[in-house]
Subunit: 124 residues, 2 copies
DNA sequence: TGAATATATGAATAAGTGTTCATATATCGG
DNA sequence: CCGATATATGAACACTTATTCATATATTCA
C-alpha cells in the first residue's frame, strides 16, 4: 500500500488530516448502527409505510390497502421496522395497530424530505 | 385480494384511514428519491467517509489511509456520494479534495447519530 | 517525452435484500 | 371446537450492491 505522508504537489497537511480523522472517528459499533438505521429508511416500501404512519396510526390491513401491496410484503417490512425500533404496535382484537416509535423517526423523515426538496427538482 | 372496508372487531375507521393515507401520500418520485438518499447513507464505508469529511475536507489518499481501505473501494464509494450530491470536490494538482456538499448532509448525519444515541446503548 | 503519483472505472464475484408463495399462528363469533 | 379473519413467517428466487483486481486517465516533474 502506498503511503501518502508527504506530498509536495498540494498543500494539504496529510499527516495532520489523517491522524485527526483517525482520532475523531466514531466507534465501529456506532458506525454500523448508524448505517443500519439509514439502511432501514432506504427502501421505498418502508418509506411509504413510515410516511403513512407519520400522519396516523394504522393497522396492517389498512396499510395493505393504502399502499396496494400484498399483506405478506407489508408484514415483512413491518417486521424490519419493528426490529429497528422505528415503529411500535398494540393489539386490538385481531388487528395489530402500528405507529411511529418516537419523534426521532419523524424528524429523520422530515430532514430527508427537506434535503431532497432543497434540490428544487420538484417545486414551482 | 381481501378487502378490509368493514371491520367490526376493532374501532379503527378503516375507510377513513385508508383514504386519508392515499390522499396524503407523497408522489412516487419523491418516495424513490427519499429512499435513495437514505440508501446512500446506509453503508458503513460511506458513513465513515461522510463523517471524516464532516470534520474536514480531505483528498482521496487521505481517506484511503484514514479508513484503512483500498483506493479502489474508496473511489467507488466517492462516486456514489458524488452522484447523489452528498459531496463536492475540487482538483488541486494531482489530488482531488472532497468535502460535504451542503449542510443538509451534516444535519442528516447528526440526526441519525442523535437517533441511535438516544437509545442509550452507548452512553454514560 | 517518459516515469511516477493520484484518482477513476469496468468487470467479476460474493453477499445482501425485497417480494412472492405457501403456510403458520392468533383471535373472535357461533 | 370450528370456521373466518388478521397477521406473521420461512423458503425460494430475482435483483441489487460492495469489494477486489486489473487497468485507464490525468497531472506533475525531470
Amino acid at each position: 500500500m502506498i503511503k501518502y505522508d508527504i506530498c509536495e504537489t498540494c498543500e494539504c497537511s496529510h499527516k495532520d488530516k489523517v491522524s485527526k480523522a483517525k482520532s475523531e472517528a466514531l466507534d465501529d459499533e456506532v458506525i454500523y448502527d448508524l448505517a443500519d438505521v439509514f439502511k432501514v429508511f432506504g427502501d421505498s416500501t418502508r418509506i411509504k409505510i413510515l410516511y403513512a404512519l407519520f400522519n396516523q396510526e394504522m393497522c396492517v390491513g389498512d396499510l395493505v390497502e393504502a399502499l396496494d401491496m400484498t399483506q405478506s410484503a407489508i408484514s415483512h417490512q413491518l417486521r424490519v421496522l419493528r426490529q429497528n425500533d422505528l415503529v411500535k404496535f398494540r393489539k386490538e382484537g385481531k388487528a395489530v395497530i402500528y405507529s411511529l416509535d418516537d419523534e426521532h423517526v419523524s424528524i429523520l423523515l422530515q430532514q430527508g424530505l427537506c434535503h431532497i426538496l432543497h434540490k428544487n427538482k420538484y417545486g414551482e
